[in-house]
Symmetry: C2
Subunit: 240 residues, 2 copies
DNA sequence: ATATAATTTGCGGGTTCCCGCAAGACATGG
DNA sequence: CCATGTCTTGCGGGAACCCGCAAATTATAT
């Protein structure tokens, strides 16, 4: 068995390699990559079936790397090892995992044992291992209670990118009014209207901008999500 | 000499303590804190004059911690050891450093030697040591060339928080038109208008929202800056 | 002190946003 | 089949945004 470790922090990288070697004595080779780009290349050249990677990396973000790896070999088993359980990350991962693939999401704050157990479960038993905290987010985002639906999340990203209603309408093939309709529901979900005990008559807030602000503060959005969305947008803009 | 180390990642924390001990043999005690809150408390109780800390921490962000530490003892020497040189961080630090205080800003990607040299320069020689990359940002943000002035940055933060023009006007003691004036200049600086070779007639972008988006992508703003601004805002809202 | 530049403010208007109302489209289930 | 619920679309209008123009104020420099 060979395992590819993709992580840009040197300390974390060596810790992770050590953990892999300890948890998987049957693992003969542990190869390290210091960012997503190198990771993608190594995965392609050496046909790794087992990968463990960070999500937040400078050169190329973990979600991007995972997407291309999975696109080329959908049966690759990937364990995400991240500092954060931002909903933006969790959504990003859920969006790209191929049907039936085995993957895992473990927080860096987890204990040594949890990490090693996860490594064995995923790479040996082909089982999905999702950190409890992360699991909670997934559930909540499915069950409507205070979680955004896909269409609401989509339009949230669109206004965060700075698109006008009209631009969103043409991009998503909707009428102008539908876009505004979805925005209304987004504003309700995000509780933009009366920010927890404020005055009633004066709207201090620009709803559109406030929605983005709240989403960022609640970590429904983060830098990496914006970055990906921006890339998709410029792609779409190019094809008019 | 006693040194206080504030860093929430265990691996980085022990690495940092080790570096301090190696660079400063005259240092008798190295005390560790695992987040900003604990760090503040220890600094207050033990009257540390030498602190090295991370900026991005969960419980309480490094900038907040540094502000309260400096407020209580302005002669404290603080070395910031951060993963990122986001302009948002650099601005945040510049804003709180007391006049004449010795401080440093070193990136985690710097070599062992650079870190140790910085530790000695600041703690022994009382000299400021700013990473070259960070220094570059500071210069650029002072020299107007493509950098935002303080008032432009201020209004950027205000629209990122989701305030209306009117709300900004009352908060900053300006007329409505002045607010919009500043916004115009902000939009010019951020190049919101014609995004590098797009169509001429159709404005796909909502300028206000796009400005925030661009600022986030360029790291003029980040989560921690937003968080601080939000705290200040709710304080101001309370006092009407 | 006077010229020059940069900010601030008011006015007016075109555009976009925000949304109530109401009618159609679509699915799900009895 | 109809009932019910969710989603979409059009219309219309009030509010907010964006900004050109021009006068007044303030800063900066020579």
């Amino acid at each position: 068995m060979k395992v590819l470790v993709i992580e840009d922090d040197p300390l974390h990288r060596s810790y992770l390699s050590e953990a892999v070697r300890a948890a998987l004595p049957e693992c003969l080779h542990v190869i390290e990559a210091e960012n997503g780009l190198v990771g993608e290349r190594l995965a392609r050249e050496n046909k790794f079936a087992h990968v463990v990677m960070d999500l937040q990396m400078n050169a190329r973000n973990g979600i991007e790397a995972a997407r291309t790896i999975w696109k080329e070999r959908p049966d690759t088993r990937i364990l995400f090892w991240s500092n954060y359980a931002d909903e933006a990350y969790v959504r990003g991962v859920s969006r790209i995992v191929p049907p039936g693939a085995a993957y895992g999401y473990v927080l860096k704050s987890a204990s040594d044992d949890r990490l090693k157990l996860a490594l064995r479960s995923i790479f040996i038993e082909s089982q999905c291992v999702i950190d409890r905290e992360v699991r909670g987010l997934q559930q909540r985002s499915l069950g409507n209670s205070n979680g955004l639906t896909d269409s609401e999340y989509e339009i949230l990203v669109d206004i965060a990118l700075g698109l006008t209603d009209r631009a969103i309408a043409t991009r998503r093939n909707l009428s102008l009014r539908s876009v505004q309709n979805r925005l209304q529901r987004l504003y309700e979900k995000l509780e933009v209207y009366y920010p927890a005990g404020a005055a009633e008559e004066d709207n201090r807030f620009n709803l559109r901008a406030r929605a983005v602000s709240i989403a960022l503060l609640r970590k429904l959005l983060n830098y990496s999500a914006l970055e990906r969305a921006e890339a998709e947008l410029s792609e779409w803009l190019a094809s008019h």
